[in-house]
């Protein structure tokens, strides 16, 4: 392995501008993690216009910082207020808040910060080792592989996790449809433009993301009752004791592994991994009844895992050009805005971006550790800011921000329209995440599928006979059929009719995708 590009990457990160953007990113991430309302996907969407004005490396370093920074910040409200600031910290509520009630809020926050740091760092090392290898393999991928991989990504993001899976797939399919608006790149024919010149080049990614994620989220939150007074528990002694550390070291180790592994999978990501890590600790525990009553492993495991997963979910994006979740779809869009095509060639064509972003995470995690332990008091004080004050400020940033991209009022209206659609989707139980992801991947899937048909001379069985695309298609079939099989087995075992069947929408969606902010 040639280490020169990695060392050059550190050189890039240590440039003062990039250090500054890294700091800005992690501070914003930490803040929006703490503040209720906006999650990382919404924040990144709202800040997309800023990235037009800055260097690609700096932009991605900042956006990445927001994403993993939010994983740290989300813990604070979970522990102190029993309100998860971020979807991936929902499960931390159980033991974190119990610990706070016992006067051990400091220890909970401390172990979460240490776990997050270890999980994040382990995952960055894994990313540095694994990403170039995966990218090397992926260089052999042709259009059939990309068509299959893109479809698998969309399908997994829609089906993994809870909530209405059918609706998630419908949303994804509509996202694919929206991606076809505009001129067809093969034949030049116009599709779904209705003669409108603004639509001839297709719908821009920025207004869609800003509307569905950013404004949709803001409008949805307007409805909630925010009159609640926040009275956070007192935080003392943030350094965990020796006993705390030895109790949670196993949980942190396993959490790192689970987070790294699930983060790489499409649809996995931070939220699912935090749930799985918690479940694993509870199952392994000698006294599982301690969980929910202030077990420190119940804080350490999910907080480690969500950070590890947030980091490793960069692997599919940076090596295959396939975003693994909705937030990564935004990163994908941000890279495209900068004229950088993510994919296996990225490590060779843009080593500065590839290694700059990866290495910036080491620095970012150190900064976050400092903010989460010695400086945690500052962020606890921020909890007193009322959401009602933040809402109009974020709305104004969104409106003026999107205008600056093309100096176009049409774009403002487009954001409002997609904002209303995003709001209605949330009210009617559709997750906007799969839609944005499918929109981003739509063009890739269509053009790869059509190129493949040309390669195969019109014979679609060609997809099945190529080993890699055949395997991926088999995985697609498995993902589609698995819930049905599972349901059949459950029915056979004679479980009561009311048992939660995974194919049907379970009661009230658990916010376990990146986009469904818990708040």
């Amino acid at each position: 392995m040639d280490f020169t590009p990695i060392i050059d990457g550190f050189g890039i990160v240590l440039q003062p501008t990039n250090l500054l953007y890294c700091l800005v990113g992690v501070v914003i991430g930490m803040l929006i993690g703490v503040l209720p309302g906006l999650g990382p996907a919404a924040t990144i969407a709202i800040l997309l216009p800023i990235t037009y004005g800055i260097e690609p490396v700096s932009a991605i370093i900042m956006l990445a910082g927001i994403f993993y920074g939010a994983q740290y910040g989300g813990t604070i409200t979970s522990v102190l207020l029993r309100l998860p600031g971020e979807a991936s910290s929902v499960v931390t509520v159980f033991d974190g808040f119990a610990m706070a009630k016992q006067g051990r809020a400091g220890a909970a926050l401390g172990i979460a910060a240490i776990g997050s740091f270890i999980g994040g760092t382990v995952s960055i090392i894994g990313l540095s080792v694994l990403a170039p290898v995966v990218a090397g393999y992926a260089l052999d991928f042709g259009p059939p592989e990309y068509a299959a991989l893109g479809l698998l990504g969309v399908l997994l993001v829609s089906t993994v996790g809870n909530g209405g899976k059918l609706k998630a797939i419908i949303a994804a399919a509509i996202g694919l449809l929206i991606a076809t608006v505009g001129r067809d790149s093969f034949t030049g024919a116009e599709r779904f433009t209705f003669g409108n010149l603004n639509l001839a080049d297709g719908i821009d990614f920025v207004p869609i993301a800003m509307g569905l994620f950013g404004l949709g989220e803001i409008l949805y939150n307007l409805e909630e009752n925010h009159k609640k007074v926040h009275a956070p528990a007192k935080v003392t002694k943030v350094w965990p004791s020796r006993q705390d550390l030895s109790d949670s070291k196993g949980a942190i180790a396993r959490g790192s592994g689970i987070g790294f592994g699930l983060g790489v999978l499409p649809g996995g990501g931070a939220v699912l991994s935090s749930l799985v890590a918690y479940a694993v600790e509870k199952r392994r525990a000698k006294q599982p009844e301690r969980f929910g009553r202030g077990a420190i492993e119940g804080v350490a495991a999910p907080e480690t895992a969500n950070n590890a997963a947030a980091t490793s979910s960069f692997i599919p994006l940076l090596t295959l050009g396939i975003p693994a979740n909705a937030t990564m779809a935004l990163m994908f869009g941000a890279l495209l805005i900068q004229g950088v095509q993510p994919g296996p060639q990225l490590v060779d064509t843009h080593p500065d971006i590839f290694w700059g972003v990866i290495n910036s995470m080491y620095i970012g995690n150190i900064l976050l550790l400092i903010m989460s332990i010695p400086m945690v008091g500052v962020f606890v004080r921020i909890l007193k800011v009322r959401p009602a004050i933040l809402a109009p400020i974020t709305a104004l940033i969104t409106m003026l921000g999107v205008y600056t991209v093309n100096n176009s009022v049409f774009d403002i209206y487009l954001v409002i329209v997609f904002g209303v659609i995003g709001y209605l989707m949330k009210k009617f139980g559709f997750d906007p995440g799969p839609m944005v992801l499918a929109f981003v991947l739509g063009t890739l899937i269509e053009s790869s599928a059509r190129q493949s048909l040309l390669i195969f001379g019109g014979d679609p069985t060609g997809f099945l006979t190529r080993p890699i695309s055949g395997t991926i298609l088999a995985a697609i079939v498995a993902v589609a059929i698995f819930p049905l099989v599972r349901r059949a087995i459950r029915a056979k075992r004679g479980e009561p009719a009311g048992a939660p069947a995974p194919t049907e929408a379970s009661p009230a969606p658990v916010p376990d995708r990146e986009t469904t902010e818990a708040k």
């Binding site: 307007l222 004050i389 009230a508």
Partner: protein
């Protein structure tokens, strides 16, 4: 996925911890959400996406499907639109009992007002610049949608608009339409 991916591995009667956890979380969050909207809303949602699917199907047929050797511009949208149609029919048929929708409550009016104020901003921006519409938006959201005191409203809205002016106009010299 490691804990859930092997169906039937567990003994009968032992409930999957991960499923249990998700149910508990769902219940926990349920307390703070408005009541779900019932089967009518589910069917309505399905009908809206069905309409999109049907429209897409008809339009893409018009663009020409071509053949597999030479795919026309309509082939891919046609395939996707047919999928939307089929999935929407499934939603209408099987999704009625799901509880993942939310009722519109009295506070939904706030969202409506919020949207109107945004449209107002977009309409006025090119005419009188961004300062006054922004200030109005801040006041409406803080005082009437957020229930803040007049004093708080005045301070936050003036400071915010001033900060935007300083950032966009003075620091970044972005050509926002403006009064001053």
């Amino acid at each position: 996925m490691s804990t859930t991916s092997e169906p039937g591995r567990q003994q009968t009667g032992e409930v999957d911890i991960l499923e249990e956890l998700k149910a508990e979380l769902a219940q926990d969050l349920d307390e703070e959400r408005p009541p779900h909207a019932g089967p009518l809303a589910q069917v309505a949602a399905g009908l809206v996406t069905l309409a999109l699917g049907l429209a897409g199907t008809v339009l893409s047929l018009g663009y020409g499907l071509g053949s597999l050797t030479e795919p026309g511009p309509g082939l891919w949208p046609f395939a996707v639109a047919v999928a939307v149609t089929a999935l929407s029919l499934a939603q209408i048929a099987f999704g009625r009992s799901a509880q993942d929708t939310e009722q519109f409550t009295r506070s939904s009016v706030l969202t409506g007002l919020g949207v109107l104020s945004l449209v107002g901003l977009a309409a006025l921006l090119p005419v009188i610049g961004f300062e006054v519409p922004s200030l109005v938006l801040m006041v409406v959201w803080l005082r009437f949608l957020g229930g803040e005191s007049w004093r708080m409203t005045a301070v936050v809205s003036v400071v915010t608009v001033a900060a935007f002016y300083a950032l966009f106009v003075l620091a970044l010299s972005i050509p926002l339409p403006r009064l001053i």
